[in-house]
Amino acid sequence: MPTLKFTGVLRLVAVIAIFMAGVWSQSTGVIEEFMFYLPDIQFLTVQHLWLTALSGGLAIVVAIPLGIVLSRPSMTRYAESAMQVLNVGTTIPTLAVLALSMSFLGIGTVPAVFGLFVATLLPITRNTYVGLKGVSPALKEAASGIGMSPFQRLVRVELPNALYVMFAGIRTALAINVGTVPLAFLIGAGGLGELIFTGIDLYDPVMMLSGAIPTTLLAVGVDVLVAFVAFIVVPRGVNPARA
């Protein structure tokens, strides 16, 4: 098994590299510099997650029903144009959305949450719609055939089958959301952007990284968390990850 040996060597190299990085950071005192910002990082991380939770939570609550409604047969006439509108919305840069919401909501948490909400809403709605539309017609017909009402069909057949695609949308949207929150600093809502932008202003790489590294970790963390929830929630029979 030459491949196995090879990964073993790689792993060893990685361990040595991490060890060397530790030695280097210890000797240069970078760690101490980072520790200086620790209270800031803690305070701002909480603020950051709060912004994500508020805007992301609102977006999920609004987007999923919206996606479901749009995917109903009676809405087919409007669904395409609605999707087009949402697609256009997705392409607007988040910074522009934040700037717009600042112009009519003032500054601080409210416009930031609203801006992030709009930016997060679109991918979730779209994936919900696409997921439900993608359920095989044969399944839907079978459900009607055994006498299910449209509502029963939605809850028992369509949603479980679309769940995996819907979760993919939530995952993407929330990861983007976490990565966008730093921009909220610019409209006075705090978050880890404070360290990033102050670090840029002051030409202080350590301060900048004190904001950038936690932001990255949060984005990855949120992504993994949602993936884990999806793994648990999506039923075994329709879950590609558990097939």
Binding site: P39, D40, F43, G106, I107, G108, F185, L186, I187, G188, G190, E194, F197, T198, I200, D201, L202, Y203, D204, M207
Partner: protein, 293 residues
């Protein structure tokens, strides 16, 4: 075909050579209104004098200074106190004249020349809504420190740079002996501070003394009764090499510097921030009015 290639190559070569020989001056600016006006005004002024100008504004102080030391920026308007405390780490309290001569001397070693200072002193200040300040009986920074220590629950808006500067937030709290909790300090873009203070989202805001929004929004500036802030005389700072390459530049920049004082700056800033005119327009009007364009 071959001649065509030769022609094209020749043309391309000529183009690169001609740009290399054109004397280009890169004018820098920081990330708030006054600096955007100054950078743009300087750009228009020098262009009308026949220079080839590139304008780069919107940077934080430290970044801009770094760029000038590296030779990526030829000239920008700096404040004496900023250089004294932040770039040269001088902590003694000096008079405005001493401040100027000290930074002139220290920065000369780095190849940066301080020209004649203008009469504009754009110091940092903390401001409150006038009615609110009267109600609370706060007129000076000592009163403010007292109010903070009495736990009056005051909230602050500061810009990113001030929070971390050597003449900024932490030393200010030390000098006046007060401590504001992390949750009561909101940091934001310089321009947003005025809006946040006006709309009552915070009680105290960091302002620039020459900002036109202070009178327009009915703010009162708290007196720096312990003389914490240094002098911040607005002065053109140019790289020595650029001055050598352009012998007339010094006199030309001094002519512009002579036209600026506190009132002019406040009025220029107000035209942009309060009357919503464009930076370019305000700069152009000023130059024409003073016969500099």
């Amino acid at each position: 075909m071959k001649t065509l290639t030769t022609l094209l190559t020749g043309a391309a070569l000529a183009a690169t050579l001609s740009t290399a020989y054109a004397e280009e001056i890169v004018v820098g600016g920081k990330n708030f209104t006054e600096q955007q006006i100054l950078a743009n005004m300087t750009g228009q002024y020098l262009e009308s004098l026949g220079y080839d100008v590139e304008e780069r504004s919107g940077m934080g102080s430290a970044v801009l200074r770094q760029a000038q030391e590296n030779g990526q920026i030829d000239l920008y308007w700096e404040y004496t106190g900023t250089s004294l405390i932040n770039y040269n780490d001088v902590s003694e309290r000096l008079s405005p004249e001493e401040t100027y001569s000290r930074v002139k001397e220290l920065d000369a070693k780095k190849g940066l020349v301080w020209l004649v200072p203008s009469a504009a002193n754009n110091t940092y200040a903390l401001a409150m809504r006038e009615s609110d300040a009267q109600e609370r009986g706060i007129a000076s920074l000592s009163d403010l420190a007292q109010a903070v220590n009495d736990d009056k629950g005051l909230t602050f808006a500061l810009n990113a740079e001030f929070y971390a500067r050597d003449d900024g937030w932490r030393p200010l709290q030390k000098a006046y002996d007060f401590r504001v909790g992390r949750a009561d300090v909101k940091r934001m873009d310089s321009g947003l501070v005025y809006q946040a203070l006006r709309d009552g989202q915070v009680d105290v805001g960091l302002v620039f003394a020459t900002d036109g929004r202070i009178p327009a929004f009915d703010f009162t500036v708290l007196k720096d009764d312990k003389g914490y802030f240094p002098a911040y005389a607005l002065t053109p700072v140019v790289r020595e090499e650029s001055l050598k390459a352009n012998p007339e530049l010094e006199a030309q920049m001094n002519a512009l510097s002579a036209e600026l004082n506190d009132d002019t700056m406040a009025s220029l800033n107000a035209q942009v921030d309060v009357e919503r005119k464009s930076v370019e327009q305000v700069a152009e009007d000023f130059l024409k009015e003073h016969g500099l364009k």
